[in-house]
Amino acid sequence: MENTILFFKYLAVMAGVTYLVRMLPFVLFKKKIENTFVQSFLYYIPYAVLGAMTFPAIFYSTGNTITALAGCVTALVLAWFEKSLLTVALCASVAVFAADCVIRFVA
């Protein structure tokens, strides 16, 4: 984008809105919430967000559904045995890479 001043205006709006959305609730909610429903809701939210973000998006993350499936299964198995985040993430990537190599070799 050539117009630098206009770019900075857009950047300010974009970053400003994004920051306010994050900051306001975190700064304003200092009190402990006592309501059981709200508490339970907030307890479940992270897992629900992660679930919705992972499936089905994970199957489109590598450009090939079969290699993604290999990575996904690897991740599920390692996560079941409670390996660390880094181990699971890297092994899933390695599995995808390996599956990709196999497919290239066979095809």
Partner: protein
């Protein structure tokens, strides 16, 4: 004679000075700055009956997989941004000030086409609204070491992954852990954007493809252990995933934008289980899982401060 006495006096005095300096240094090294902070944090935590044992170093370590995942995602964003007509420094600045994948991806076309400011503001608001939920959720898990000023800073780094990792921690989380956790993701996100924008096609395709799954692998590593411990969490995840799949494939529903889908699925699944399987906790995280696991949801029962403390210090 007089002169020699004076000399001896000076030497003695210098010796005393050196010794005291040495002692001071020794003390300084024994209790290095880091330890002092740690002890201070633990004491402050104890004061409020919430012992925080998650350190800066632990946060830094937990941030590594997030940073690696971001490196590949932001790499793709960098390629996309310069491909759309932004300059390298513009792509980098967007990443450094926004730190949000979906929002940035939606924002770039609006900037390039110079659409009205209202449009970019609304788009960011809708796509990033989920951060509000996360902020409220994490505000319940922040211990007393996190001051108001810290909240202004930490909230800048509230991404899906940082939120997920910190809220999966047992007990409360403190400021040092949160700052540690933010470092690697921020570096990864900025560096990835710069690399992607500057030299999009340096990495071979199989490598970028393989890195694409890293972030989801990390999500799975967070979800599965929690779902193993608690049937309710498992239920929430299954419902949320099933809804997300529906939104992808059912004809009318698949028109809904990605940011909205996550909000709808997460809110619906969490509300359903908050209604069916309420969990009462004062120390969100640790005891909630236990309550759901044993099938006895702690409705209305407030654990004593002592029990609360031991739950926090177990891990």
């Amino acid at each position: 004679m007089h002169f020699q006495l004076q000399k001896a006096f000076v030497i003695r005095k210098a010796g005393i000075l050196c010794k005291s300096l040495y002692l001071r240094l020794k003390i300084r090294f024994q209790f290095s700055l880091l330890d002092t902070y740690r002890i201070y944090d633990i004491l402050r935590g104890m004061e409020s009956k919430n012992v925080t044992l998650h350190s800066y170093k632990e946060g830094l370590k937990d941030g590594v997989p997030i940073g690696l995942g971001y490196l590949s995602v932001s790499f793709a964003f960098g390629i996309f941004a310069t491909g759309s007509g932004l300059k390298i420094w513009q792509a980098l600045l967007i990443s450094m000030t926004n730190l949000t994948s979906a929002g940035q991806l939606a924002g770039v076309p609006i900037i390039v086409q110079s659409l009205p400011f209202v449009e970019i503001a609304l788009t960011q608001l809708i796509i990033n609204l989920r951060y509000s939920l996360m902020s409220i959720s994490l505000s319940q898990k922040a211990d007393s070491t996190i001051t108001r000023l810290d909240r202004f800073l930490i909230s800048f780094f509230m991404t899906d992954e940082i939120f997920a990792v910190s809220s999966a921690k047992e007990g409360m989380v403190g400021r040092r852990y949160m700052y540690g956790l933010a470092v690697m993701p921020y570096i990864g996100w900025s560096l990835g954007t710069l690399l992607g924008a500057a030299a999009g096609n340096i990495l071979p395709e199989p490598v970028t493809n393989a890195l694409g799954i890293a972030i989801y692998g990390m999500f799975i590593a967070i979800i599965i252990p929690a779902a193993k411990k608690s049937r309710s969490v498992l239920g929430v995840v299954i419902v949320s995933c099933a809804m997300s799949v529906l939104f992808r494939f059912v004809p009318v529903l698949n028109k809904v934008s990605g940011g909205f889908v996550i909000i709808i699925c997460a809110v619906a699944a969490s509300a359903l289980f908050a209604w069916l399987k309420p969990v009462k906790t004062t120390n969100s995280g640790a005891s909630a899982g236990d309550g759901a696991q044993s099938g006895q949801n702690k409705v209305g029962a407030k654990p004593a401060a002592g029990a609360n403390r031991s739950a926090g210090s177990e891990e």
